[in-house]
C-alpha cells in the first residue's frame, strides 16, 4: 500500500539534519569571512591547498535560490564524472586519490592576455561568491547545490577577448594515471565543453571552486569547474585545465558522442524530450521514495536572466 504525503509541504522543502548542521557551519564560516573582509582581505580569492578546506571571504549573491540545498552527502556521492567511472557512486569511490594540486590552467585563443597560469594566480583577481543554484541533469533528476565560485563574466573580461572571440571552449584534465575511467573508451577524451561568449558572460555563469563553503571535492570537479544552471548538468565541465577563446563553435563531448540526443546548447527545456525519456518532470534528489517528480521549468527556472540569449532561435532544433 502506498501512503502519499500531503501536498502542502514538499519533501524537498524539509531540511535534513546534515543540511541544518551544514547551514550552521556555513553561517559561522560566513561570520569569519565577514571578519576577514573588514580586515582588508577582500578582492583576492584564496583557495587553501588542503582537502575540503574552509573558504573565506565569500559574498552572498542575489542569484541564489531560497530552496533548501541538498545534503552534502547527496551532492558528493551521486555524480556523473565519467573520468572516474560511469556509475553514480564511482566518482565518490574512485576520485579519492586524485590530486587537484599543483594545477595550472592554460588560457589561449582570441584574447589579449593568454598563457598558462598557476591555479592560485588564476584565482587571485576574482571574488568568491556563494551561488545556491538548482542543478538539472539531462537524466531527469535535480539537486540544489550551494556552490562557491567566481563569476565567469569577470574571468572572461579579465583575459580581454578580442572581437574574434565568439565562443569559450573548455577542456578537462585527461590523465589515465589518475582517472581510472579515462582508460575506458566511454567518451572521446578529453571531456570538452563550450559556451557562446554571450552565455559565458551572462551573470549566472560561474566557475565553481567550492561547495558548502569548503573547497570542492574531487568527485565534483576539483579544483575548478563550470556551472551554468539553466543548462543540463553535463555542460558543467569539471577539473578544467584549458580555456580557449575561439571564433567557431567548439566540439563538445556529449554532442560528439550522441548528436541526436545532446545538443550544443543543452538548455533545460521541458517541452523537448530526450529521444529515450521525457524531460517534462524531474526527480528532486532527497525528496524521498514516495515523492512525485516535480515539473521541470523552462531554462530550469532561470528564464528571466537567460531567455534573451536565444531570441529568434528555434529551441526545438537547437536543443
Amino acid at each position: 500500500m502506498l501512503i502519499r504525503k500531503p501536498a502542502d509541504i514538499r519533501p524537498s522543502e524539509i531540511t535534513s539534519e546534515t543540511n541544518y548542521i551544514n547551514r550552521r557551519d556555513f553561517i559561522r564560516a560566513g561570520a569569519i569571512a565577514g571578519g576577514s573582509l573588514i580586515a582588508g582581505a577582500a578582492g583576492a580569492a584564496v583557495i587553501p591547498d588542503t582537502r575540503q578546506a574552509a573558504l573565506s571571504g565569500i559574498k552572498k549573491s542575489e542569484f541564489s535560490t531560497d530552496e533548501a540545498p541538498n545534503s552534502y552527502e547527496d551532492i558528493t556521492t551521486y555524480n556523473n564524472f565519467y573520468e572516474f567511472g560511469t556509475g553514480k557512486s564511482d566518482p565518490f569511490r574512485n576520485a579519492e586519490d586524485f590530486k587537484p594540486r599543483p594545477w595550472s590552467i592554460d588560457v589561449s585563443g582570441h584574447a589579449e592576455k593568454t598563457g598558462t597560469l598557476d591555479f592560485e594566480d588564476f584565482m587571485k583577481p576574482f571574488d568568491l561568491e556563494e551561488r545556491i543554484y538548482r542543478m538539472r541533469c539531462v537524466e531527469a533528476w535535480s539537486m540544489v547545490i550551494p556552490w562557491v565560485g567566481i563569476s565567469l563574466a569577470d574571468v572572461v573580461k579579465h583575459f580581454q577577448p578580442t572581437s574574434k572571440a565568439k565562443f569559450v571552449a573548455f577542456e578537462t584534465l585527461n590523465d589515465p594515471k589518475q582517472m581510472s575511467g579515462v582508460r575506458w573508451g566511454s567518451l572521446d577524451w578529453p571531456y570538452r565543453e563550450g559556451l557562446t561568449i554571450e552565455e559565458a558572460t551572462n551573470p549566472l555563469s560561474i566557475l565553481a571552486v567550492g561547495i558548502y563553503g569548503k573547497s570542492i571535492p574531487n568527485q565534483n570537479g576539483a579544483p575548478i569547474r563550470l556551472v551554468t544552471p539553466w543548462k543540463y548538468g553535463f555542460k558543467g565541465i569539471k577539473s578544467i585545465i584549458r580555456i580557449n577563446f575561439t571564433s567557431s563553435r567548439p566540439r563538445t563531448s556529449w554532442n560528439m558522442a550522441a548528436p541526436q540526443e545532446y545538443g550544443f546548447y543543452a538548455n533545460v527545456n521541458p517541452s523537448v524530450s530526450h529521444p529515450r525519456w521525457s524531460q517534462a518532470r524531474e526527480r528532486r534528489i532527497g525528496s524521498g521514495l514516495f515523492a512525485d517528480k516535480q515539473e521541470t521549468l523552462m531554462f530550469n527556472g532561470y528564464g528571466e536572466h537567460v531567455a534573451h540569449l536565444y531570441k529568434g532561435l528555434d529551441l526545438r532544433r537547437n536543443y
Binding site: 502506498l2 541538498n70 552527502e73 547527496d74 556521492t77 551521486y78 565519467y82 560511469t86 553514480k88 557512486s89 537524466e139 533528476w141 575506458w184 566511454s186 567518451l187 558522442a257 550522441a258 524530450s273 529521444p275 529515450r276 525519456w277 521525457s278 517534462a280 526527480r283 534528489i285 532527497g286 524521498g288 521514495l289 514516495f290 512525485d292 517528480k293
Partner: protein, 210 residues
C-alpha cells in the same frame, strides 16, 4: 527422507528464501536496517529489480546446459521456481516504474510505451513472462500437452528482449548489457551445438549399418 523429499522439503524452501533475499534487501535498505539505497532510491530500486530479473532469466536458462554438463538431473526440479522468480523481479521492476517512477500517471505511461521503443520492448518481455507464469501450474501444463513447450520456448524471446531493453536504456556505457548479452550467447550457443549434434547422431543412426 529420500532425495525427492529432501529437495521438496529442505532444498526448495532454502532456495526460495535465497531468491527472495535481493527483494528483502531492498526493503531493509529502504528503511535503513542494512545498507542504503543512496541519493536516488527510486532509480536504485528500479535498477536492482531490473538487474535481478535479468540475472534470474540467465540462471533459469542455465539449468538445462548445466544439467547436461554435470549430469545433475535434480537441477530441473528448481527450474520452475527460478522462472517464477524471473517473473517476480520483472514485475517488481515494472511496478516500481509505474508507481514510484511514473507516479501512476497513465498519460506518461502510455506516452513512454508508445514513443520510447526500449520501454515497449521491456513491456513485451514482461507480457511474455506473465503468460509463462500463468501456465506454470502442473494441471495447466498437463492440459496444454505439446502446446506447453511451444509456448514456453518464448522464454528465449523474453531473454533477448530483456537484454535489448537494458542495452537501449543505458546512456553510454554498455558494459553491463554486454555481459548479459555474452552470457545469453553462451547459453543459446550451447543449445544450438547440442541440437546440431543430436540431429547428426540421429541422421547417422537412421542410416543402415555398412
Amino acid at each position: 527422507m529420500n532425495t525427492l523429499q529432501q529437495i521438496r522439503f529442505f532444498w526448495k524452501p532454502v532456495v526460495f528464501l535465497l531468491c527472495l533475499l535481493p527483494a528483502g534487501l531492498v526493503v531493509t535498505d529502504a528503511i535503513g536496517l542494512s545498507g542504503t539505497l543512496g541519493a536516488n532510491p527510486v532509480e536504485e530500486i528500479l535498477d536492482r529489480f531490473g538487474n535481478w530479473g535479468l540475472r534470474f532469466i540467465m540462471i533459469t536458462l542455465a539449468i538445462t546446459p548445466l544439467r547436461r554438463v554435470t549430469g545433475w538431473n535434480w537441477l530441473s526440479r528448481f527450474r520452475r521456481m527460478l522462472g517464477l522468480f524471473t517473473f517476480f523481479y520483472a514485475l517488481m521492476h515494472f511496478t516500481t516504474w509505474v508507481v514510484l517512477d511514473r507516479d501512476l500517471r497513465l498519460s506518461e505511461i502510455i506516452e513512454d510505451l508508445t514513443k520510447r521503443p526500449f520501454v515497449l520492448i521491456g513491456f513485451t518481455a514482461l507480457l511474455i513472462l506473465t503468460a509463462l507464469a500463468a501456465t506454470s501450474f502442473t494441471a495447466v501444463r498437463r492440459r496444454m500437452g505439446q502446446h506447453w513447450q511451444t509456448l514456453h520456448n518464448a522464454i528465449y524471446a523474453a531473454a533477448i528482449l530483456g537484454v535489448w531493453h537494458y542495452w537501449w536504456q543505458v546512456k553510454k556505457d554498455v558494459t553491463e548489457p554486454l555481459i548479459y548479452a555474452a552470457i545469453l550467447t553462451i547459453l543459446f550457443g550451447a543449445r544450438v551445438i547440442w541440437h546440431l549434434a543430436r540431429n547428426k547422431r540421429r541422421h547417422r543412426e537412421a542410416r543402415p549399418a555398412q
